[in-house]
C-alpha cells in the first residue's frame, strides 16, 4: 500500500492546496512541505529492500483484456529519481515560501507544484508504458501551468505555450512509439518490454519505434533540435525553474532513455540518433550559455548542455557510460538546483538578473556568493566536487567511442568542458569587481531559511565530491544494477584514479576554459554582444513560430474554403450527404436489389390507407403553412403525430402508441407556449410584395432535395420491408426471457427497465439535464421588444372576459363549467397514471407513459385556471422530483451491489399481503418508479419554466427610466 499512497498523497495535497485562501503562504508551505516530507520518509523507508535488489510492484487491474493494468513499480533507478523528486521538491517548497511575494496567489502555485510532484512520481514509478505516457503528459500540463503562472506577462504565456506544444507533441510521438513497442513485445508491461529487448531490436518496426520514443525523450529533455523551449520556460518563477526545468521534469527524457535502454540500445541507429542529438546539444548549449545576458538564461543553456552530456552517455551504450549517466543526473540535479536558487536569491535581493549589470555582490551577500561559487565550480568540473567525478567518467567514456583513431567525440567533450568552465567563470564574475551601474535594489543576504536549501545542496555537492563511494555509492549501485542486471560493470567511484587521460582532459578543460574566458573578455566581450556568435541564425524558437503561423494560416484558409456560419448551407450539405447513404447501400456488392412484390399494395386495409393519407396530407400541409400560419401548422403537425400514434397501435406497438400520444400532447402545449414570443409574419401576397426570382430558385432547389430525400428513404424502407427479417436477431432472446427472467410479460417494458436498464438510466439523466438547461436558459430570457406588450386577446375592450384573470374565468367566468369538471377529473387522471404505472410490467404502460399522463393531468389545471392559481393551491417542486427520481433509480442500481451483483441487476420478490394476496415485486419496479418521477419532474419543469415567462415582469427598456423620472417630479 505504500506505493499507491506515495503517488496519491501529492495529488490529494494539490486539491487541498487549491482551496486554501489567497494569502495563506505559511499554511500552503507547511502543507506542501509535509506532503514532500511524508513522501521522502516513505520512499526512504524502502531503501533497505531496494538496495538488496528487490523490485516492489503494486498492480490494480484496469482493462486486463487490453493488457492495460495500473502498475506501480519501484527499483533502484526509480528510487533514485523518486528521491530526487521528493527531496528537491521539499527544498523548493521551503525556498518558494520566501521567494513568492505576498501579492502572488499562492494556492495556485503550490497546488500546481504538488500536482507536478505527483505526475513526476507517476512517471518514475509507472510499471506500464501507456500509464507512463499518461503521467508524462500530466507533467507537460503542470509544467505549462507553472510556466504560465504569472499569466499577465506575455513572455510567460508565450514560454508556456511553446514548452507545452513541444513537449506534448513529443508525448504524442512517445505514445505512438510505446504502442509499437507493446505490439512487438505483446504487452505494455515495462518488465515484459525490457525482457523482449532482442525481439524488439530484430523487429522490422524497431526503427519507427526508436524514432518515436526518441522524439518523446528528446523534446522532454530539451535536446537539439527541440532545445529552444527551455530558455523560454525561464519566464516561470525561479522555484519552478529550479525544480522542473533543471532537476526533475527535463530529466524525464533521460529517465525514459535509461528505462528503455536494455530494450532499445546497442544498435547503430540508437547511437546515431541519441548520441548524435546529445553531441549537438552539449556543444550548442554550452557555447550559447557563454553569451547569455540573463542569469537564468545562462543556467538554462547550461542545463541543456548537461542534459546533452547525459544523452551522449546513454547513446554511447556501454554499461560504464550508463553508470556515468545516472551519476551525472544526480550531480547535475544537486548543483543546478542550488544555482537556480542562488540566481533567484540574487534576482530577489537586487531586482535584476542582468549579467551586464551585476557586479561585486560578494561584499553585500558573502554567504550566498560563496555557495554560488562552490556550486558553479561543481558545474565547471573542479576537483573535489561532484561535477568533476561524473565529468571525468564522461571523458573516459568518450575515449572508448569508435576506434583509437576516432577522436572526434573526445574533442567534442573537451570543447564542452572548456565552454562550461567559461560560462561558469562568467557566472561567478557577478560576485567580483565593482558595479558600474546602480542596482535597482540595495542587495543584502536573504532570509535564513531561504538560503538553507542552497546550503544543503552545496553541502551535498561537497560530500559527494570528496567521499563519493560512501555517500551515493550504494544507491547508485542499486540504480545501475536495476538497469543493467547481470551486465553491471565493475567501477570505482574514487576521487583519484592516478594520472590518466581523462584527468588530463579535465585539466585541459579547466585551463583552456579560463584562457578562453580571458580571451573573450579582451577580444569579444560577451557583455557587449547581442546574440550568440556563429549560431544565432539557427533559431529554433523562430522556426517554431514560423511553423505555428503557417499552421494557423492553413487552418484559416481551410475554414474560409469549407466553413460557413449560416445554418441553411450546412443543412443542405448534410441532407445531400444523407442522400448518398441509400445510394451506397444499393451499390454495395452484398445488396441484392429488391425483388418487387407482385402486388405492392396487397392486403392493405382501406382504413389503414386512409389513416396514412391523412397523416401525409397533414405533413405536406404543415410544410406548406409553417411560415405564415404557425398555429395551423402546429395543429397539422399534431395531426401527423396522432396518425403516427395510431400507426404504432395498428402495427402491434401499444406502448409506443401510448407514449407517442402523450408526448404529442405535451409537445403541442409546449410549442403553443412558445408561439407568443415569435414575431408576426404576414404573407408577401397580402402585402403585395413580389418574391424575387433568386428566392424561387432556392426554393426549387430545396424542393428537389426534399423530394429526393423523401424518395430515397421511401425506397430504402421498401427495399428492407420486402425482405424477411434476419434470422439471427437478438429480439427472440428478449421475448423468451422477459417473463422467465425479467418477471414481466410486457417485453418492451422489461427491455427498458431491466435488460437495457443502464440505457434508460442514461436517458432519464439526459431528460433531467435538459429540463435543468431549459430552466437555466429561461432565467436569463429577454423577450424581443415587440413581444412585450400583452397580446390583443387580453386587452380587448369589448370582451369582458379579457379583464378577468384566468382564475376568475375558471372560477366564476365563462370557463366555470369546464372548471368544475376538470377539477373533478384531476384525481381520476392521477389514478389513471397510477394504473398505467402499476400494470406497466405486464401490460402496456410503465414509468414513461404514466409520468406523461401525470404531467398532462397537472397541465390541464394550468391551462384552465392559469399559473398563479395553480401554484397557489398546489406546490409542485419539479426540481425535487428530478432529484428524487434520479436517486431512486440510481439507488435501485446500486442496491444490486449489496448482493454482489453488477449495477442494476434486477431481482424479484414475492410478497404475501393480507388483502391483495400474492404480489411479485421486481426491483425493476422501483427503478421504473424513478423513471416515472423523473419524467413528471422534467416535463413539469420545462412547461412551467416557459409558462412563467408570460407572467414574469419583463423590464421594458425606457419605461424604467421614465417611471423614475416621474417619481422624482
Amino acid at each position: 500500500m505504500l506505493l499507491p499512497s506515495l503517488l496519491l498523497i501529492p495529488f490529494i495535497g494539490s486539491v487541498i492546496a487549491a482551496v486554501m485562501p489567497e494569502n495563506a503562504r505559511n499554511r500552503e508551505a507547511w502543507l506542501a512541505g509535509s506532503v514532500s516530507l511524508a513522501g521522502l520518509i516513505g520512499a526512504g523507508s524502502l531503501y533497505p529492500r531496494i538496495s538488496a535488489g528487490e523490485v516492489l510492484r503494486y498492480e490494480l487491474p484496469w482493462m486486463p483484456a487490453y493488457g492495460l493494468d495500473f502498475v506501480l513499480r519501484i527499483d533502484g533507478l526509480a528510487w533514485i529519481f523518486a528521491m530526487l523528486v521528493l527531496g528537491i521538491g521539499l527544498l523548493v517548497v521551503l525556498y518558494a515560501r520566501y521567494y513568492m511575494s505576498p501579492e502572488d496567489p499562492v494556492p495556485r502555485f503550490f497546488s500546481f507544484l504538488l500536482a507536478f510532484m505527483g505526475s513526476m512520481l507517476g512517471v518514475v514509478l509507472s510499471g506500464n508504458l501507456v500509464q507512463l505516457v499518461v503521467f508524462w503528459e500530466l507533467t507537460s500540463i503542470t509544467s505549462f501551468l507553472l510556466i504560465g503562472y504569472w499569466h499577465h506577462r506575455a513572455d510567460a504565456r508565450r514560454g508556456a505555450r511553446m514548452a507545452f506544444t513541444v513537449t506534448a507533441t513529443g508525448g504524442l510521438c512517445l505514445l505512438a512509439g510505446v504502442i509499437i513497442l507493446g505490439h512487438i513485445a505483446g504487452s505494455y508491461d515495462l518488465d515484459a518490454v525490457i525482457a523482449a529487448g532482442d525481439a524488439i531490436r530484430a523487429h522490422e518496426l524497431y526503427l519507427p519505434a526508436l524514432v518515436l520514443v526518441a522524439l518523446g525523450a528528446l523534446t522532454k529533455s530539451a535536446q537539439f533540435p527541440f532545445h529552444f523551449w527551455l530558455p523560454h520556460a525561464m519566464a516561470a518563477p525561479t522555484p519552478v525553474s529550479s525544480y522542473l526545468h533543471s532537476a526533475t521534469m527535463v530529466k524525464a527524457g533521460v529517465f525514459l532513455l535509461m528505462r528503455l535502454w536494455p530494450a532499445l540500445s546497442g544498435t547503430p541507429e540508437w547511437t546515431w540518433i541519441v548520441a548524435g542529438a546529445g553531441v549537438c546539444t552539449l556543444l550548442l548549449g554550452s557555447f550559447a550559455a557563454i553569451f547569455q545576458h540573463d542569469l537564468k538564461g545562462l543556467l538554462a543553456y547550461s542545463t541543456i548542455s548537461h542534459l546533452g552530456l547525459i544523452t551522449v552517455l546513454l547513446g554511447i551504450g556501454t554499461p560504464l557510460a550508463m553508470v556515468a549517466a545516472i551519476f551525472h543526473t544526480i550531480n547535475h540535479a544537486t548543483f543546478k538546483a542550488s544555482l537556480f536558487m542562488a540566481a533567484g536569491i540574487i534576482d530577489h535581493e537586487t531586482g535584476t538578473r542582468d549579467l551586464r549589470v551585476l557586479r561585486g555582490l560578494h561584499r553585500q551577500m558573502p554567504i550566498t556568493a560563496t555557495l554560488a561559487i562552490v556550486a558553479s565550480a561543481a558545474m565547471a568540473g573542479v576537483p573535489l566536487l561532484n561535477g568533476f567525478l561524473s565529468k571525468e567518467m564522461f571523458f573516459a567514456e568518450t575515449l572508448q567511442v569508435g576506434s583509437s583513431r576516432n577522436w572526434w567525440m573526445s574533442a567534442a567533450a573537451v570543447a564542452m568542458g572548456i565552454f562550461s568552465v567559461t560560462y561558469s567563470l562568467r557566472f561567478i564574475n557577478i560576485f567580483f569587481g565593482t558595479p558600474k551601474v546602480a542596482l535597482p535594489k540595495t542587495p543584502h543576504e536573504p532570509p535564513r531559511w531561504m538560503r538553507f536549501p542552497v546550503e544543503l545542496l552545496v553541502l551535498a555537492c561537497l560530500v559527494v565530491g570528496v567521499l563519493p563511494g560512501l555517500s551515493v555509492g550504494p544507491a547508485l549501485h542499486a540504480a545501475v544494477g536495476s538497469v543493467l542486471g547481470p551486465r553491471t560493470p565493475a567501477y570505482d567511484l574514487a576521487v583519484w584514479h592516478g594520472l590518466n587521460v581523462p584527468l588530463l582532459m579535465s585539466f585541459i578543460a579547466l585551463i583552456g576554459g579560463a584562457l578562453f574566458y580571458l580571451t573573450l573578455r579582451r577580444r569579444f566581450d560577451p557583455d557587449l554582444r547581442d546574440n550568440v556568435p556563429l549560431i544565432y541564425r539557427f533559431s529554433g524558437a523562430q522556426a517554431y513560430e514560423n511553423v505555428m503561423i503557417a499552421l494557423s494560416q492553413a487552418a484559416n484558409f481551410l475554414l474560409r474554403l469549407f466553413g460557413t456560419r449560416r445554418l441553411q448551407p450546412q443543412m443542405l450539405w448534410m441532407m445531400l450527404a444523407l442522400l448518398l447513404v441509400p445510394v451506397l447501400v444499393g451499390l454495395s456488392p452484398s445488396a441484392q436489389l429488391a425483388a418487387p412484390l407482385a402486388a405492392p399494395f396487397a392486403n392493405l386495409d382501406p382504413l389503414f390507407a386512409l389513416l396514412l393519407t391523412v397523416g401525409c396530407v397533414c405533413a405536406l400541409a404543415a410544410a406548406w403553412q409553417a411560415k405564415y400560419h404557425r398555429l395551423v401548422a402546429l395543429a397539422l403537425v399534431g395531426g401527423t403525430g396522432i396518425v403516427t400514434a395510431v400507426v404504432f397501435l395498428w402495427l402491434s406497438a401499444p406502448d409506443l402508441a401510448l407514449t407517442q400520444l402523450m408526448v404529442e400532447t405535451v409537445t403541442t402545449v409546449l410549442i403553443l407556449l412558445g408561439l407568443r414570443w415569435l414575431p408576426p409574419r404576414i404573407a408577401p401576397k397580402e402585402l403585395a410584395i413580389d418574391v424575387p426570382r433568386s428566392v424561387w430558385l432556392h426554393r426549387s432547389r430545396d424542393l428537389l432535395v426534399a423530394v429526393a430525400g423523401g424518395g430515397a428513404l421511401a425506397a430504402l424502407t421498401y427495399a428492407i420491408l420486402v425482405r424477411p427479417a434476419p434470422e439471427d436477431s437478438i429480439s427472440g432472446f428478449f421475448v423468451l426471457r422477459a417473463l422467465a427472467e425479467g418477471g414481466g410479460s410486457n417485453v418492451v417494458n422489461v427491455l427498458l427497465v431491466d435488460f437495457r436498464g443502464f440505457d434508460t438510466m442514461g436517458e432519464i439523466t439526459v431528460l433531467a439535464a435538459v429540463a435543468l438547461t431549459v430552466y437555466a436558459l429561461l432565467r436569463r430570457f429577454r423577450p424581443a421588444h415587440e413581444s412585450l406588450a400583452p397580446p390583443s386577446q387580453q386587452t380587448n375592450d369589448v370582451d369582458p372576459a379579457a379583464a378577468q384573470t384566468p382564475a376568475e374565468q375558471a372560477g366564476s367566468g365563462y370557463l366555470m363549467v369546464p372548471g368544475v369538471y376538470l377539477r373533478l377529473l384531476l384525481p381520476f387522471m392521477l389514478l389513471i397514471a397510477a394504473y398505467f404505472f402499476m400494470r406497466g410490467h405486464n401490460l402496456p404502460g410503465g414509468g414513461f407513459v404514466a409520468g406523461l399522463i401525470f404531467a398532462v393531468a397537472i397541465i390541464v389545471q394550468y391551462m384552465l385556471a392559469g399559473t398563479v392559481w395553480v401554484e397557489s393551491h398546489l406546490r409542485l417542486r419539479p426540481h425535487r422530483w428530478l432529484g428524487f427520481g434520479l436517486v431512486t433509480a440510481a439507488a435501485t442500481g446500486v442496491g444490486a451491489w449489496l448482493f454482489g451483483h453488477p449495477f442494476l441487476t434486477s431481482h424479484t420478490v414475492h410478497l404475501h399481503l393480507p388483502i391483495l394476496g400474492e404480489l411479485h415485486v421486481p426491483s425493476a419496479f422501483v427503478f421504473d418508479l424513478g423513471v416515472f418521477v423523473v419524467v413528471v419532474g422534467s416535463t413539469m419543469l420545462i412547461l412551467t419554466a416557459i409558462a412563467h415567462q408570460s407572467i414574469r415582469g419583463h423590464r421594458q427598456p425606457g419605461k424604467g427610466a421614465e417611471a423614475t423620472a416621474r417619481g422624482v417630479l
Binding site: R566, L567, Q568, L597, P600, L612, C616, A619, L620, A622, A623, A626, K627, V637, T640, T644, V647, L651, S652, A653, L656, V663, T667, I671, W677, L678, P679, V695, D702, V705, V707, G710, L713, A714, A715, T717, Y718, I720, L721, S731, V735, A738, N746, V748, L751, L752, T760, V766, V770, V774, L777, R780, F781, P783, A784, N842, L843, T939, I942, Q949
Partner: protein, 114 residues
C-alpha cells in the same frame, strides 16, 4: 401494405427536409418534428410489420418469438420518442431565446442579405 408504409415515411421525411432547409426557426422546429416521426417509424418498421401481435407474453408456457412483434425496435423507438421531446423543448427555448436576443427569427440570428 409495405409500399404504403414506405411511401408515407418518405412523404413525412421529405416534408421535414423541406422545412429544415427554410430560414425561419419555427419552420425548422416543425421540420424536426416531422423528421422525427419519419425516422421513428423507419426504425420501428425495421422490426417488420405485424398486426395483432403485440409483444406481451401473456399466454402460459414458453413463448415463441415468431408469435410476437419485434420488441427491440419498439424499445429503441420508445426511448427515441422521449428524447425527441427533450430535444424539442431545448430547441424551442433556444428559438425563443435567440429571437429575444437577436430580434429576428431567422436561423442565423440575422436577416440574410438576399
Amino acid at each position: 401494405m409495405e409500399a404504403a408504409v414506405a411511401i408515407a415515411i418518405g412523404i413525412l421525411f421529405g416534408s421535414g427536409i423541406w422545412l429544415i432547409l427554410r430560414p425561419r426557426t419555427f419552420q425548422v422546429i416543425t421540420g424536426l418534428l416531422l423528421m422525427s416521426y419519419a425516422v421513428n417509424l423507419f426504425i420501428f418498421v425495421m422490426g417488420r410489420l405485424w398486426i395483432d401481435k403485440a409483444p406481451l407474453t401473456l399466454a402460459p408456457g414458453t413463448p415463441d418469438p415468431a408469435d410476437y412483434a419485434d420488441p427491440l425496435s419498439q424499445a429503441l423507438v420508445l426511448t427515441a420518442i422521449v428524447i425527441g421531446f427533450a430535444t424539442t423543448a431545448l430547441y424551442l427555448v433556444m428559438m425563443i431565446g435567440a429571437r429575444g436576443l437577436s430580434g429576428t427569427d431567422h436561423v442565423d440570428g440575422e436577416e440574410s442579405d438576399e
